[in-house]
Symmetry: C2
Subunit: 245 residues, 2 copies
DNA sequence: TAAAAAATTATTGTAAACAATTTTGAATGT
DNA sequence: ACATTCAAAATTGTTTACAATAATTTTTTA
């Protein structure tokens, strides 16, 4: 059987070079970030097993770092740890999906109002620039980049409040949204509808909190509506129910 | 020097009885919960060093469980990990304090509106019962219990939405609020002003979202106003600045 | 005597060996 | 051919010993 190496960005290169001085060992946070990114970009689909041995090989670090990274990822709901069985990319169910969207509506509706009223010129620059990046990625059809930037737009909105706690909470919810889209997303309308981020930005620039809030709510509802929450792909493909008795 | 054992509830009893069959080993989550509770109730003030050895002794477990528990606590912002120096109960600064209160205003204002509109009879029962418990604790002057229940009221509000994601986020913010109160709280007005939870509950029972939201905002602002954010007790008591040159 | 330097101690970080559990695969019987 | 049982392999959980770092004490020196 061929040596299967998990694809985790530049970490996916062969790393049997512990003695070759060139590469430095990635620290805990870097491991978390790389796996995080891989999950966000849906290169690691839900239920993927993250075995310690393979991760050690991929990152070229000892088992301990990996285990700590996995624990941190689990605390953010990105992976699930099953005792004696290992770590798996988290597989949200319908309940979690609706809860995450519910939480985001509560939080982001309120955040957008503050941003629409208080955003500084610098904030607006950052947001404008970000939307431009999104457009560029869309025109070049870089799917992974589109997904990443779409999520990050919402993080940047939270960041515009200057409240780092808010930023962190939104970031976590956005990540889990990516997982959910990966699981339940219909192939057609992927992640964030094209122009809606631009519309939201316009409302902010008009300093119109009511319009901005309405747009954000609608935006989140569009994403949620694009999901197919009917089919429950929860456990293994579940041969029993597929093949009948 | 006397053997100093960290006071962590029932874990503080001597636990040199690994071979005596009676006690079971607390698992990871239990260790987290006990330290969490100790921090919430301000028995472990900020900047307290949590040495692995002492914790191992207190809980009667190996170093590994302790280290994992500390990592989880760090991921929730309850302790800070300093490389090669160990774990310390987190010491929020003014910036974090205002951010946490800001985040709570955003979240809880929105949550309370939903609860005021949609709360079930069962939800109301739970909340009424909880407020009664708070009253009882206040009348008996059980300070630790008052602190714990005051925080938990807000968690129960979030729980009333039925959204477990919201509940978790609010719970984390409430914990960090406890840390902040422990650091910056003035001795006089402790944690949550007496009757305000009852008032909020009344507004919910009246199904009056506007009143409920206003009360929650005011409530959070009262707590924040009771803090003394002027004095920066950041590092060690800092003998230099106290004793002058 | 006080400050600086060095050695000692204590504590955390890491790696390796070991134990326990789960998964896999083959052998057996119906 | 199918299911069951048992053994082997692989994977995770835990303990142990060791290395690296920070804190403390002692010694040295100005």
């Amino acid at each position: 059987m061929a040596k299967k190496v998990l694809k985790l960005g530049k970490a996916a290169v062969e790393m049997n070079d512990k003695q070759s001085g060139g590469e430095r060992e990635p620290d805990e946070q870097e491991i978390v970030d790389r796996i995080y990114a891989a999950v966000m970009e849906q290169r690691l689909p839900p239920k993927t097993k993250l075995s310690e041995a393979k991760l050690c090989e991929s990152f070229g670090v000892g088992r301990m770092r990996i285990r700590r990274a996995l624990l941190l990822l689990a605390s953010q709901g990105i992976v699930d740890l099953h005792s004696n069985r290992g770590a798996f990319v988290s597989c949200p169910d319908r309940r979690e999906a609706t809860d995450v969207f519910g939480a985001r509506k509560h939080l982001e509706s309120s955040i957008i109002r503050e941003v629409a009223v208080n955003a500084s010129a610098k904030n607006l620059d950052v947001l404008r620039n970000h939307v431009a990046l999104e457009d560029a990625a869309r025109q070049q059809n870089e799917r992974r980049e589109i997904i990443r930037l779409s999520g990050e737009f919402h993080v940047k909105l939270a960041e515009a409040t200057g409240n780092m706690v808010l930023r962190r909470v939104v970031r976590e919810l956005v990540t889990r949204t990516s997982l959910i889209i990966g699981l339940f997303g219909t192939s057609g309308g992927s992640s964030c509808p094209d122009h809606e981020h631009q519309d939201i930005l316009d409302a902010i620039q008009d300093k119109d909190p009511d319009a901005a809030e309405a747009l954000v709510r609608a935006h989140l509802e569009h994403i949620e509506a694009d999901l197919n929450l009917a089919t429950e792909r929860d456990s293994q493909p579940d041969l029993v129910s597929i093949l009948g008795l």
